[in-house]
Amino acid sequence: MATQSSTGALTGTLRVEYQGASEALRESFAESQDGEALVNGRAALVDNLVERCWLEHIAAEEYGPQGLTLAAIGGYGRRQLFPHSDIDLLFVCAEASRESGHQVQIRRLCQDLWDIGLRVSATTRTVDECERLSEENPEFTLSLLDRRYIAGDFPLFQDLDQKRIPNLIERRRQSLLLAIVSLTHARHAKFQRTLFHLEPNLKDGPGGLRDFHTCAWLAQLLPEAARTAASSYETDLLVERRDESRLAHQFLLTVRAFLHYRNQRDDNMLYWQAQDEAAQRHLGLPETRPVETARWMRQYFRHARSIDWLTRQMLNDVSTGRAPSGGQASFLTRFRSGRGRTELEGCPVGDGRISLKSVTEYADPDRVLTLFQMLGRQRLQLSREAEGHLAESLTMLAEHLPEGGALWDKFSRVLLGAEAAQALRAMHAIGILELILPEFHCVDALVVRDAYHRYTVDEHTFLIIEHLHALEQATSGWEAHFREILREVEEPALLYLAALLHDTGKARSDENHAEQSLLIADAVSQRWNMMPAQRDAVLRLIRHHLEMSRALRKDIFDTETIRAFAELVGTPNDLRLLTLLTYADIHSVNPEALTPWKAENLWRLYIATSNYLDRNVDEDRIAIDADTAAIQKVVALAPKQAAEIHRFLAGLPQRYLRTRTPQDIFEHWQSSIELETLSAKRTAVPPAGVAVAHVAQASAGAWWECTIITPDRPFLFADIAGALTAWGMDIIKADAFSNAAGIVIDTFRFLDRYRTLALNPGEAEHFQDSLADVASGRSSVERMLAARAHSVRTQNNKTRVEMQLSVDNTSSTHSTILQVIAQDTPGLLRRISLVMAQQKCDISVALVDTEGEMAIDVFYLTQGSSRKEKPPADAAVADSKLNDACLARLQQALSAALA
């Protein structure tokens, strides 16, 4: 046994040796930048030191003493010792009595190793204990998978290595696999399950070294049968990706070693400064000169992606039961596995994975987009074969990709899926997203540094889409409020497209990226032949995508802030889109960015602006000499009639201009000219009115829309609403405006629940004429309603909405604003507007909306004059608000009618 003085001398000698050898390894690494050689070299160096201490303290003879052995486990067991890694040692005793006999020597040995400068983490176990799965500490059992003999009783080590651990694996394979899955999921959750962090953790983050070790453990635990069960194509693919992962592993070894030296501790965060230095040293790259940091980081992400891919594939095999185990698979597992095989739009689904039926389909863009559409609908993964075949078919796909509107039509369906973000990530990883949207390539793994963003630009974008879709399922908290907004968005695909493109300009300029993104979005929308209204909506959203955050930095309870912001967004639908994009954008900056404080302020800004937009419609009217860009677009369609167009627009609320396309407005003007022709031809006494009606189905086919253009008269709005009810149509939205000349433009959006118009091609024309006849007063709406009375359906309401009437006599300078909230029932709008007409209240502006079973109708009412008597925008405004008596009568009559 060593004496105190001889031990001290040895320690001193070994410490000097260790420092010298460590410095030599450091210099060698600086020269070669070979991380693998460094960690192997350090492991060998430590082996030598530990063996010599063993001889000094435990046993002088080789392979002694009997009944005690020393193994390296964990990273040290894998021969991967980084400059500041812990050194995991396992002292294994044949039986418990041996442990107490060697306790003092073991402690001295560990003390010496610490004195030498090694960070030792030592554990003592009996060989029997090693054979049991440590339920409370599964990490220990997993560390045994990387065991290696160092010193002591070799037969005892062989017993552990060849018998005990294989027995443990055989008996507890399923538990070990599940422990790995559980630990990995918990670890990934700490990194929000994405590898695309601006400052990634090289060891524990997704796609990091720990993931690579996880794959190695899984490969070790899976029985041979499972490893050979996959198809040969799948096996080839896995082998190929394993090779990629090995290269990635070498890259990560080098970078982690660099980080340890740089940070002088076991700190594996790749901070910005470290990224710059790594790029300067072209670390892990074949280049021989410095590279740009962004380029170096892309290399990092490429390597991390390959490890991440392999990890997910192997974890998925275990989770779905593809990896055989001793235990019985759960029902869910069996359903998701091949035993629950099914098809989605001709795409086979099994093992929670989706593919196409034949290899040739992978070269058919139509089928491929259908595949991603299905992937976007359900929580699925692409099968490994599908990934491989798609990667091989990229050239063919590029040649046959649909163009223009056809491509937008297919791609928008992918965006609308609840799991669209996952589908987009898969498309991006394979390269298909870049085929469809080459502009997106510039933000691939793009690192833009600021103090708040945590993810690369592409991942940030996918997260926005993920958070927006997550709102669909929200049931409580602020998310539930924003879900209500999402439900009211008219074309959600435009929101998702704007989200996808809103930061693409960051690759060109971080200073003014919105402008650059706008140019990209404009090019995309033109290439896809998007309708002008769609294109404009996307561009407006991208142009303004930072504006709501800016408004939040102002006083959101100040009317001026609200007015300015309302003017910027212009319409309720744009406000909804911008609110949702802002919500998801903040949410996707980092997990803590959207605090309840911010969410609440965002919601309050939204409702204040929404109310402002609804209550100030008649304040902001078009002047006769107005010449805005929107008006110029209309005039451009008939330049010679500029003066007539200006006269038609004069006095209409600005909202009309903001919510209609130039083509719509142009057609409305043409209809107003048509009215004059019709009036000239009328000779009947008393003269009947004239009206022009347009009926069209929305592009998505979800609803129909009719616009009536006619001179104003009492009961007009009520009669049109009644005519729609008589036809069995459900009004879901409406607005009613009038110009200074008293021409009314009333638009109703409705659902054709009985498909009367869709199933009877000639009926649309009949319907249109019928509306024009009612509007002009030639047909009696009462007779129509009486004729349809027998078919009035009863309605089973799922929720009960209490009727509410609220009066605002301050927001408008010459109208009384009445908001009616009531249970949405057939004929409701007719009943409300009829009461108003009976009470001699004229509807100056109407904004009708429905939210589920709730009707929310806002009316701008004036007293004793019809809309045609409204003064022009630039004339002095007479106060024509309802007086108290009239208001009281109206409220009483409405309460009775809607009770």
Partner: protein, 112 residues
Amino acid sequence: MQKIEAVIQPSKLDAVKEALIEVGVEGMTILEARGHGRQKGHTEFYRGREYSVDVLPKIKLEMVVTDAMVDRAVQAILKAAGTGRIGDGKIFISRIDDAIRIRNDERGETAL
């Protein structure tokens, strides 16, 4: 050393921050807060529901400065955050015994 705590309107944060940096205050902690005092709440109706705010959004700033800096910092906050209206906020000042920089264990004013 003294600690200055200022509760201000969120819309004044940028201006106050700039003013403090200008007079030489190098570090501060910014907290999202809610509060109420004499400033009354706010009620908004939307879709038939009432959304009332009885505690209003505020920003709380905390900074520890040298004794010599206190007046300048307070004046900077007053000038940048004040509008003369109810709800501008409040400033609280208290004495601090010591400060320690965790990175290198520096103490006292040098740790600020």
